[in-house]
Each structure stands twice: as structure tokens, then as C-alpha cells.
């Protein structure tokens, strides 16, 4: 019901891509990369995604391609790259051996921090600051994963093909917002609210969003309660929700 290529795109843009938000929102993460010489790591996946993550002045940015990277990590397949994310594959750089220390030290610390937010313990979630950041990072990861599934997963592509052109706003009241931009069935997630959404899906609170992400409450019942608001071109949201159903299959 899932495929390695789609998972690789999710791992690249939704999971590793969340490092951008981690460094932006968590001062400890930002501090880890604030006093270093700028460094960029390229992930080149055969028959899969290619992107470069650059750390500079305490911030992180992901861009398409691997042409300008200091360290290049090649992967012979999507499965191998997915192994990096689940910890079963150790990458060997094809370029930038001198920067291996950054990979083993600070980069690993950052990804460990990200994992802690993505798969939080109940104890950690009792801390309000941690809870909010964890929920925010999960939100960005999920909204980016929607586009990757809509563009690569066979069933997701069917759903995406039924989304009319325009912007879907997904948001948490008092929290983060994302745009799912759709054009001819191709989806792009932008991690900020659209100016002119054609449809809106808003979760009523950070608590509700977290409970939904962790399967503690029923989305359908919450729609009835009015704590999940849906407005505008509902057929866009309907199809985004069908893709959203598949996010759990990949990120479980």
C-alpha cells in the first residue's frame, strides 16, 4: 500500500525539510549551527529526490539539487535513502570527507532533536513549549508530505488529479499554517498561509491538532463538533483529506 519512492520524497522534503523549521523555532537547534562555517549537505538519491540542506548563521535551508553542496551523500536507491532516515543505513560521502565531523556530530544531534519532536514521549509533551513545537513540526511535516504523496504515490496521484487549481489553506488556530498549491493536479506545499485560499481547513487548537496527529480523536466527530473548520471549495479539501489519510501509512 506504500512505495519506497514516495517514502523517499517524504523523507527528504517533509522529514529532513523540517530541519528548517527546527532551526527557526528551537533556539537550541539554532545554537548548534550558529557558530560554524556555513556548510551544505547534498542528498542525491538515484531515481528519487535530490536536495541540499545548507546551515548558515544558525539557520537551515533546503533547496533542490546537489550542485552546490560541500558534502555529497549519494544513495543507490530510494530504499537506501529511507534506510538513512530509519537508522539502518550509514551513508558514505562521495564528496566532502573533511566535513564528516559535522555529519557525525552536529547534524546527528539535530536529527536526534527532530526525532524527539516527531516521536515525542508522553512525558515530554507535558512541557507546553515542547508540546507546541512538536505539534508545529508535525504539522509542517504532514502538510509537506501531502504534496509528496499527491505527486508520487499512485493512489495519491488519483486524489491530486481531482483537486481543482488553487490554494488550500491548512492551519492550526493560533499556530502554524501551510499552503497546498495545486496546479493541474501537481501539488506544492508552502509553509505559510496563502493570500487568497480557495479552501480552508483549520484545526481549532494546538491540542486538537496534536490529538488528531496522534490518532487520539476522530476527525469526523470533530468536524461535527465544529472544532475542525472547513470552508470554500470543499472538493479540494475532500481530496486533500484522502491524501492526508495516506500520510499516516508512510509516517507511521
Amino acid at each position: 500500500m506504500t512505495d519506497a519512492k514516495t517514502l523517499a520524497y517524504i523523507n527528504m522534503y517533509a522529514v529532513l525539510g523540517s530541519l528548517e523549521n527546527l532551526c527557526e523555532l528551537d533556539p537550541k537547534a539554532s545554537a548548534l549551527v550558529s557558530d560554524i562555517k556555513p556548510i551544505s549537505i547534498g542528498f542525491e538519491v538515484k531515481d528519487g529526490p535530490c536536495a541540499t540542506i545548507t546551515f548558515k548563521n544558525g539557520r537551515c535551508r533546503m533547496e533542490q539539487g546537489v550542485n552546490e553542496c560541500d558534502v555529497k551523500l549519494p544513495f543507490s536507491s530510494c530504499e537506501k535513502f529511507n534506510g538513512l532516515i530509519d537508522g539502518t543505513v550509514t551513508p558514505i560521502p562521495s564528496k566532502g570527507f573533511l566535513h564528516i565531523k559535522f555529519l557525525l556530530d552536529k547534524f546527528t544531534k539535530l536529527t536526534d532533536m527532530l526525532s524527539a519532536y516527531m516521536r515525542p514521549s508522553e512525558e515530554d509533551l507535558k512541557d507546553e513549549e515542547f508540546f507546541n513545537l512538536s505539534t508545529t513540526l508535525l504539522f509542517y511535516t504532514i502538510t509537506v508530505a501531502i504534496s509528496q504523496i499527491g505527486n508520487h504515490d499512485e493512489i495519491g496521484k488519483f486524489s491530486a488529479s481531482h483537486i481543482i487549481d488553487g490554494d488550500v489553506k491548512m492551519s492550526i488556530k493560533g499556530g502554524p499554517a501551510s499552503t497546498i498549491h495545486c496546479k493541474n493536479g501537481h501539488l506544492v506545499t508552502i509553509k505559510k498561509a496563502p493570500e487568497n485560499p480557495r479552501s480552508i481547513m483549520e484545526f481549532g487548537s494546538m491540542q486538537l491538532a496534536n490529538d488528531l496527529f496522534n490518532g487520539k480523536v476522530s476527525a469526523m466527530a470533530q468536524i461535527g463538533e465544529g472544532t475542525i473548520g472547513m470552508f470554500g471549495m470543499i472538493n479540494m479539501i475532500d481530496n486533500v483529506n484522502r491524501i492526508l489519510d495516506r500520510v499516516g501509512l508512510y509516517l507511521a
Partner: protein, 421 residues
């Protein structure tokens, strides 16, 4: 400005809280707040208490002029005295019994006499029962596996008529489903050529009355060309008349549009809310249906048969479809006029007895949703993104009240969204 009472729904909400504890999603399916597109949910009632004629009352005592008609079954008016009298009389005799009631034969004879394409009638309970049966029967008759659907379709909830991205559906469930756009005969012809000798059936509603978009009537000559193609290629032509049946033509919507289906599916309006569905078909498909393993515990219950006989008889005597079309036209013309007077471009599509509404001032439908909600809050039950239904009990006074509420709702929305005007 507010001349009409604004509904409160305290008891509905209390019941919904109870419901979510014991029923998945509280109210599932099209009658619920999620699939029913209650936007915002605060404007809608969730549970009813009683119904009569064209009205239902919710558990908070709010009365609604109901333009959804239970999503179609209420065609004569809730609790129609003639239909209910027949049902109650039958209930005193028998209902669900070991040998089926003779009422089944009488209703089958009436269906065959009423429905233009019918040489036989097979009864079940829901629309899905008979759309699924029609597809299986077409495969049984032709020994072919592929089915052509029209994009935007809804033919029920069986796996074969759902879509690949729906929860619980496997790719294998829909692997033999082909899709074509409505009214695009050239594309249909091409699809048939590409799958020559493999297509069992083409299934479609008589016109495109899907949700979320304007409903589209058949282009001139479309159905006649489809009929000829199906005949030429040995493809069974199935019309899903579950939604439109008896609101356009008691002889079937295929008859209304000037062609003959091989099988036609009815449900909603057969018995004015008493639960029975029916597949009618031509002689050459009789044995294909007879040989199938297809039945249900309540499919031969006598009370809905008796209700169906009374209802169909009354519909024929009244020539009900023409009355419903007239009532629908009167309402739709008034709604468009009220919209125009307030600066709204209200698009009405589909047939007037099953009218579909859309405010076209913006490309988000948010103005439309706001207007629908304001109408519902004042006691006119419209749906945001589904076609509506006219029933016989709807009076001129009801239409007048509806138009007054619609006008007030337009004014409220205009005041609250000055940026749109």
C-alpha cells in the same frame, strides 16, 4: 433587518455529544455534518423529531421547509395520508414473513406497467443494492469485466462503485473501472474502442448531478448516440435513476430524455420514504439476474411494497413530475431574482425538481456557504453542495416564505461581506 427567528440547536448539540460516544462520527454519511457539508456546523440541526408535508421539526422545535426531502425519498410530502394508510393497513396484516407477500407481485406489475424500459422488477432496500446488482448482472450477462463510469459519479457504497482513494478500497476492487467525462461522446467512443470486447456496461445518472459543481443536462443527441454505441458493441446501458427517478418522468428518466436503458435503478421516491429499491430491466437480462446469488433479510418486506403501490399510483394519477417541475421552476426563478436584487449571481442548474444552487460571485464558494447557512438558520433547509429535491406538499405559501428568507439571508451576507460587492 432580522425578521425571521434565528434557530438555536442546544438539544441537537447535546444529542450529538451523546452520539459520538456510541456511533462512529456521531452521524455518519450524507445526513451528517461532515459529508453533509454543514458549513459552519453551528447553522445546522443534527437531529429531527417529527415531519409532516414539506416540513420537519428538529429536536429543538425549529421548523424547516425541507428542500432535501431526506435526500430524495420524500416526494409526496412527509407522512402522506394515502401512502401511509396503505402502509399501516399492510402492517396490520404482515410485513417480514417466510413467504413473500403477494404485494411484491402487485408492485412488480405496477413497476413494469409504469416504467418504460421495464420487462421485470427486482426489489431490494437501498439504491446501492440495485446499482451493484445491475453491474453484476451486466457482467453475468456479457461475461465481460469492465464498467464505464462518468467522472463525478456516485452510484452507492459497494467497493466496485467507490474510488481507488476511498478508505477501505483496494486497487483490485476498482481495477476494471473505466472513466469518461460527462457528455463527451467522442471520448466514450474512444474508450470503448480501446477496450473493445471487454466492456460489460456503461452506467450513468440521466444527467450529471454530482456534488460540488453545477449540474449538467445531456447534450442534444448525447443519449441517443450512447444508446446506439452500447447496442452496437453489446454493452449493457444502465441508468442510475435512484436520485432523479419519478421527479422527471414516472416512466423513467431515460424515457424523459428519449432513449431506453437496458436496466434502470430506482430507490428514493418509490414509496415516499418506506424503504424499498428496485432494478428494472429488459427481457434479455431477466435470466442473468435470476441466476445470481443476491438477496437480503428485509428485501421482500410487504409494508414498503404496499406503500410503493399507493405512492406510484398516486404519482401517476397526479402526473406528479410535471407538478414538481413547475414548483421547482417557480422557486428557482424566485431565488435567482432575489439574488439578483441583492447583487448575487445565483446559478441554478439541473432540472428544476432537483435544482442545484451556486453563488458565483467568488471562486471559493465561501459566499455561497454563508448564504446557505443563513437560510438554514432561518428555517429553510438547503444543502451547500448537493442538488435539492421538490416534493408535492410544497405550497405557494412555502415558496413565498422561502423567498423571503432567502432575501433576508442575501442581505445578511452582503452586509457581512462588503468586500465582495
Amino acid at each position: 433587518m432580522a425578521n425571521f427567528k434565528i434557530n438555536q440547536y442546544d438539544k441537537s448539540r447535546e444529542l450529538f455529544a451523546r452520539a459520538t460516544k456510541v456511533i462512529p462520527s456521531g452521524v455518519y454519511g450524507h445526513l451528517g455534518p461532515a459529508e453533509g457539508n454543514f458549513i459552519p456546523v453551528s447553522a445546522w440541526p443534527f437531529f429531527s423529531e417529527k415531519a409532516k408535508g414539506t416540513y420537519f421539526w428538529d429536536v429543538d422545535g425549529n421548523r424547516f421547509i425541507d428542500y432535501m426531502c431526506a435526500y430524495g425519498p420524500n416526494i409526496m410530502g412527509y407522512n402522506d395520508p394515502d401512502v401511509d394508510k396503505a402502509a399501516m393497513a399492510q402492517a396490520k396484516l404482515e410485513n417480514c414473513t417466510t413467504s413473500p407477500s403477494y404485494k411484491m407481485v402487485e408492485l412488480a406489475e405496477l413497476m413494469v406497467d409504469t416504467v418504460n424500459t421495464a420487462d421485470w422488477a427486482f426489489f431490494a432496500k437501498n439504491g446501492n443494492d440495485v446499482t451493484t446488482l445491475a453491474i453484476m448482472a451486466a457482467r453475468n450477462a456479457t461475461h465481460k469485466k469492465k464498467i464505464i463510469f462518468v467522472n463525478g459519479f456516485y452510484h452507492g457504497v459497494s467497493a466496485v462503485v467507490q474510488k481507488i482513494d476511498y478508505p477501505g478500497i483496494l486497487p483490485e476492487d476498482v481495477a476494471n473501472n473505466l472513466y469518461v467525462d460527462w457528455n463527451d461522446f467522442d471520448a466514450l467512443e474512444k474508450l470503448v474502442a480501446e477496450n473493445d470486447g471487454e466492456i460489460a456496461a456503461f452506467i450513468s445518472t440521466p444527467y450529471l448531478h454530482g456534488n460540488y459543481f453545477d449540474n449538467v443536462l445531456p447534450a442534444d443527441g448525447y443519449w441517443q448516440k450512447v444508446r446506439n454505441l452500447c447496442t452496437e458493441k453489446g454493452i449493457v446501458l444502465i441508468v442510475d435513476d435512484v436520485r432523479a427517478g419519478f421527479r422527471l418522468d414516472t416512466a423513467g428518466s431515460d424515457h424523459y430524455y428519449g432513449f431506453e436503458a437496458d436496466m434502470i435503478c430506482f430507490c428514493k421516491a418509490i414509496a415516499n420514504g418506506w424503504n424499498v429499491s428496485c432494478l428494472c430491466g429488459k427481457d434479455f437480462l431477466r435470466d442473468a439476474v435470476a441466476g445470481m446469488s443476491y438477496t437480503g433479510s428485509y428485501w421482500m418486506s410487504a409494508v414498503p411494497f404496499a406503500a410503493g403501490i399507493a405512492n406510484i399510483t398516486k404519482m401517476r394519477e397526479l402526473n406528479l413530475p410535471s407538478i414538481l417541475l413547475d414548483k421547482g421552476k417557480k422557486l428557482c426563478d424566485g431565488l435567482k431574482e432575489a439574488g439578483k436584487n441583492n447583487g448575487f449571481d445565483l446559478v441554478v442548474s439541473g432540472e428544476p425538481s432537483l435544482f442545484y444552487l451556486r453563488i458565483a460571485n467568488d471562486d471559493t464558494m465561501m459566499l455561497h456557504q454563508a448564504w446557505i447557512a443563513e437560510c438554514v438558520k432561518r428555517g429553510v433547509f438547503f444543502a451547500g453542495h448537493h442538488n435539492h429535491f421538490i416534493n408535492y406538499a410544497l405550497s405557494d405559501a412555502d415558496i413565498k416564505e422561502t423567498l423571503e428568507i432567502a432575501d433576508e439571508a442575501f442581505k445578511v451576507v452582503k452586509k457581512e461581506h462588503p468586500e465582495a460587492f
